[in-house]
């Protein structure tokens, strides 16, 4: 399709040149070697004023040229005016503003106005930058213009630096290191302000005219089977006559195929769904972006008090911005509702997309009657007696330290006295019920794209306790007393978070989660679940330690209950041991990596990327191992080991239980004999049935679903969302951890502390196949309830005996 575009544009070019050449005469000046002159394709024009009279002499003034008369001869200016994003809502930008670079106003016109003087061309970035922000594609080192802050007023027709002022992005191919600005770590910033500018893309490459035939693919063809329909192009002349000046905004995906790269990203598609490209590709902005503007006060220069994001704001406004120390700020990542039309076209199906923003908080004096900001001229009259000279009563009120000057720290409405003073003054000027209003506005960040090789985003930037997606946002260092700002009505992202006024006067946006229903692995946590899991785990550990301690104490009293030489029997077959230890290793590594992934930022055994990969690989090994061992147990019949239930099972289980809580301390023999036919005691049987049939499948399934969310979104996407899969998987892992510690502890309850572990390694276990003692046999013969009663009685009695004995000792 791109080939078609190229082909068509060539045809278009040929046709237009064919179309134009016979009707025009090449002016002699174009024969000169000046190659820049040849860059314009536009034929020469006769410049007419509003009365259709040719401008031939006098002092040149661009305003005398009538675009309707001059341009309107060939182009349908009426159509352009009505189809023009720059010609509505109070904005009136005409042909000349964008298509003629630097008109030589004031020069004397001799014979006529040569077209060379006024070169008509497609808008260059500088042309767009005249209004939109700092643009510099020249070789002059980039600097902040002197009028950068002086133009923030409501006056129209002046230069505005909107985009740069509000977001800090600068459109320039130059390297940051080569700029005239004072940037932190400047000598290492060897990358351009914007890669697209550096790669020679101009503004109109992405902001193209609405009926640009090259991009007609974006407009839906009436023929559903066509993505690109060349029949949209009526004729090249049509486009030249009626260019639709509603400038389009191309998406990153118009040119880029993000899914073809980003292979380093786990959950590639998920990331693309959840994040806009700029969220990662604009990691930091060094340009002079506003953080807050306090328009309730005026500095000596007669401008509001500005605070910059990512800058040392200790310097007063008077210093030039080029010497201000900019450290750069990280754009604020906030969820933004995704439009439905976009949904259909792109691959994501989420309701929200996280995008970078800059938030600018502004305080105004407003009139209670009109609810509009008070004009700055009125404030100037209040604050100043003469330009650069504060009024005496202002100094009296604001000068806290009585040095006759208003320092930058004092220029703040931080007391009721100051506020009511200004309020009174405003009333005198005829403002009804003046009040202070604070508004937070959001500015999306679309430019300032980083050089990829200089991006140092890591997983832990977001997937960690301290995440870019959950950090508190500083809205303003200072604020007028008692005024809490509110979100503006056209605030784009979701308004989540709490606006907090800190003790030191700072205003912050407190947020813990990004909102939008995201679960960010490593950052998001279900707190109660974590707490519960941790408590269960701690209880297990404490119980084990207590048990072990008691065993140790009593081992002196009841030592070597049975010391006869034990015979060795081969009990665990080779494969049994192999699968056991493979399982053990896998679970151990899964636990370690899992803990790290869950608590990124707190615990680190590996680097996060490796931890995630290891976790996935070991999970795979575990699943394969489990399947193979299931097969083994089935074909050998060993599976019966888990299901040996007879009518004595319950009794045996109780005996085993009492053994663990009582008999073991006395050095009593195991109540249930371990034989090669019956390797597991009743309690083990129950535990393993639960572990292998419930917990393991649960954990494997939840894990596979989390892993598969990227691979088979169609299957998993609908009913398995990370937001509850992750906590469930997490719950399972807590239980697994508990099993692990208890299991390991219970291996020490064999004949010696390590005999069971040794048996599981070598396969040879000590055969303690003595007959069940008479005592045990008697218990087994009792009725169930009697047996339990006897056991409890014996335990209590013996304990009493013990305590009595100890008492007599003392």
């Amino acid at each position: 399709m791109r080939k078609y575009n190229l082909f068509l544009s060539i045809i278009l070019f040929l046709i237009t040149t064919q179309f134009i050449t016979p009707t025009t005469q090449t002016p002699s000046t174009q024969n000169s070697d000046d190659s820049t002159l040849n860059r314009t394709m536009h034929p020469p024009v006769t410049w007419l004023d509003k009365n259709a009279v040719e401008i031939k002499s006098g002092k040149f003034d661009i305003k005398t040229i009538s675009t309707t008369m001059t341009c309107g001869k060939c182009h349908d200016t009426g159509y352009i005016d009505t189809h023009n994003s720059h010609f509505k809502n109070g904005v009136k930008v005409d042909c000349i503003d964008c298509h003629i670079m630097e008109p030589p106003n004031g020069t004397e016109i001799k014979d006529d106005l040569p077209s060379i003087y006024l070169r008509i061309k497609v808008p260059s970035p500088q042309q767009c930058g005249k209004c939109h922000g700092i643009v510099n594609s020249s070789t002059e080192p980039l600097s902040i213009p002197d009028d950068y802050l002086g133009v923030t007023q409501y006056t129209s027709g002046e230069k505005l630096y909107g985009t740069t002022l509000h977001t800090g992005v600068i459109f320039s191919p130059q390297e940051l290191a080569g700029s005239a600005m004072n940037l932190q770590n400047k000598e290492n910033l060897h990358f351009p302000w914007d890669v697209h500018s550096h790669r020679q893309l101009d503004c109109i490459a992405c902001h193209y005219i609405g009926n640009d035939p090259r991009y007609m693919g974006d407009i839906e063809s009436p023929l559903r089977y066509l993505k690109y329909d060349p029949r949209h192009i009526k004729s090249p002349g049509e486009i030249l006559k009626r260019p639709d000046h509603n400038l389009q905004v191309s998406k990153c995906t118009t040119c880029h195929s993000p899914l073809n790269v980003h292979n380093f990203l786990p959950y590639k598609k998920k990331h693309m769904e959840a994040l806009s490209c700029q969220s990662c590709h604009v990691p930091i902005i060094y340009g002079p972006a506003l953080r807050s503007v306090d328009r309730t006060v005026l500095t000596l220069d007669g401008i509001p008090r500005f605070e910059f994001a990512g800058a040392d704001n200790s310097l007063s406004n008077g210093t030039t911005l080029n010497t201000k120390y900019f450290t750069g700020y990280k754009p604020i990542l906030l969820p933004e509702k995704v439009k439905i039309s976009e949904d259909q076209e792109e691959f994501h199906n989420g309701r929200y997309k996280i995008s970078p923003f800059n938030l600018v908080t502004t305080w105004y004096w407003k009139s209670g009657k009109t609810n509009l900001p008070v004009e700055e001229q009125i404030l100037k009259e209040i604050y100043f007696s003469a330009p650069g000279q504060y009024a005496d009563d202002i100094i009296r009120i604001f000068d806290n330290d009585r040095d006759g000057k208003i320092a930058s720290g004092e220029l703040l409405l931080d007391s009721n006295e100051k506020i009511s003073f200004i309020k009174e003054k405003l009333r005198q000027k005829g403002i009804l019920n003046p009040f202070i209003d604070g508004i937070i506005e959001s500015y999306p960040i679309d430019h300032g794209i980083f050089e990829v090789s200089h991006m140092n985003r890591t997983c832990a930037d977001c997937h960690a306790t301290h995440s870019l997606l959950g950090e508190d946002i500083l809205l303003s260092r200072n604020a007028p007393l008692g005024i809490s700002p509110r979100f503006s009505t056209d605030f784009i992202p979701e308004k989540d978070g709490r606006i907090v006024r800190e003790k030191d006067g700072r205003i912050t946006l407190d947020r813990t989660e990004p909102g939008g229903g995201y679960y960010i692995l490593g950052h998001s946590r279900v707190k109660w679940l974590d707490k519960a899991g941790l408590w269960v785990f701690i209880i297990c550990i404490v119980a084990i330690m207590l048990h072990a301690f008691l065993r140790y104490i009593f081992s002196f009293k009841y030592s070597s209950a049975h010391t006869q030489e034990l015979q060795k029997v081969y009990r665990y077959r080779f494969y049994e041991r192999l699968w056991h230890w493979t399982m053990a290793t896998a679970v151990l590594i899964l636990a370690l990596t899992g803990v790290q992934i869950h608590f990124t930022g707190h615990i680190a055994f590996f680097n996060l990327e490796h931890a995630v990969s290891l976790h996935n690989i070991l999970a795979g090994i575990l699943v394969i191992n489990a399947v193979l061992s299931l097969f083994y147990h089935l074909v050998t019949g060993e599976i019966k080991q888990f299901f040996r239930f007879n009518r004595l099972f319950l009794k045996e289980a109780v005996l085993q239980f009492f053994y663990y809580i009582y008999g073991i301390f006395k050095g009593a023999p195991h109540p249930v004999q371990k034989t090669s036919e019956r390797k597991l005691n009743p309690l083990q049987q129950l535990t393993y049935i639960g572990l292998l049939n419930v917990l393991l499948p649960f954990q494997v399934l939840s894990g596979i679903l989390m892993w598969g969310a990227e691979r088979w979104p169609a299957i998993t996407g609908k009913w398995a969302d990370l937001a509850y899969l992750a906590p469930l998987h997490n719950l399972g892992s807590w239980l697994f951890l508990c099993f692990l510690v208890v299991h390991i502890y219970l291996t020490t309850t064999g004949d010696t502390v390590f005999s069971n572990i040794k048996a599981m390694i070598t396969g040879y276990d000590s055969a303690s196949e003595q007959d069940i003692q008479g005592d045990q046999q008697r218990l087994m013969d009792m009725k169930f309830m009697d047996m339990v009663g006897t056991l409890i009685f014996k335990m209590v009695q013996k304990n009493n005996d013990l305590s009595k004995k100890e008492a007599t000792h003392e």
Binding site: Q200, A586, I621
Partner: protein
Amino acid sequence: MRKFKYHWVIGALIMIISIALSVWLFMPKDSTKAMKDPWASVIKTRHHLDHARFFTQPFKKPQDVTKACLQCHPQAAKDMMKTVHWKWEGDPVKIPGHKDPMRIGKKNLVNNFCLGITGNWPSCTSCHAGYGWENSSFDFTKEENVDCLICHDWSGTYAKGPSGYPREGVDLLASAQKVGYPRRDNCGICHIYGGGGMGVKHGDLDNTLVNPSENLDIHMGKFNFLCVDCHKTTNHNIKGKAYSVSVNHENGIFCTDCHDAVPHRDSRINTHLSSVACQTCHIPLVAKKAPTKTDWDWSKAGDSSRTDDTHTYLKIKGEFIYKKNLRPEYTWFNLTTDRYILGDKIDPSKVVYINKPIGDITDPTALIWPFKIHRAKQPYDMVNNFLLVPNLSGEGGYWHDFDWEKALQQGGINTGMNFSGKYGFADTEMHWPLSHMVAPSTQALKCNDCHGDHSIMNWKELGYDGDPEKYGGRITNNKIKNPEGV
């Protein structure tokens, strides 16, 4: 028979191997291809033997030092005498426009600085690695006349004067006691000061490279390279080619001797390799700390009313322009040059190229290279239309009598040229391809330096239709001619 007790070890091994293998298989790997390690071909350490104890008696003549050296290094002079540093001429090569292969070198060539050594031996041969080249009858076979110290002196006190003899006051014993492998200042004595002053000739070689910073030259600055680290030397034959005296790249050095042939991570940059030399981007500027001579007008010489200044005017030499932070000029170059040979006819209405680089956009072996171009006005014979080498120094020379006619007459005799008696000054250009002063990668040229509105390249002059970013490169536009004509 007792059963093997440790067969569980086999199980443990199976387990470890299967886990390790699957981790190794499935762990995401860094997909970037391993690059050639540039350090693999760099000599890490050099051995140096303190020679102080070998020499105790003062030397009477410099030749005595050489003889002393040859006692232990008998092959050294023989090897040295086979090289261009001694012969000042190379093996026979084919020169475009000339039928038979010819031996060329400093010995017989003309340049546009001090014009030529013929007849000016005493001053020019102060850079000859030998003693006593005073006239055309110098004996190139005498081993004792080889000057070892000029390249091996570490005392820093050794200096050469007319005809290559040590200057008066040089302590030969002190120098001999402190000999070692050649360091940057050793090579620099001639290669930095060539042309009669610091930085006159090369542009990318001047005294600031003796102790350079990282920004000046990454190899010598950051990694403290010596000249001989790249100009690798075996048996006194030093690798490398200077296009002021050569016409091809035999025995030359390439960046790719150490660096990977496809060295960038960004494939867009790598596509440039088919048309752009490494040096073009990586040597964005030369003469970064000290200026280099770019223009030399001999026709203005001899004016005693003007005050002498090394960098603007000297009565004996004429008018100069020196430039600092010089942006190179770019042209196609296939590593061979044309060469002006004494006697070649010139067209005085046009610029005479002393060593025009061969290659253009159609030449698949040519790349866009950076050059320092030295422009001069130098004497030529208006009747015969060829360049002349005047006699400058000594009795009857121009620097003595300031009489061009006499100097050219005598020069004509020395060089065997038939000077008609009528002379003029022709515009000449000499091309110096640049390979030193390699900047750190952060300072290399970037996209917008060549592409876009502020390009440093003159694309039309290079043969493109326009900025190749918009018009396509020479491959897309089928501009390359197949040399076989297939």
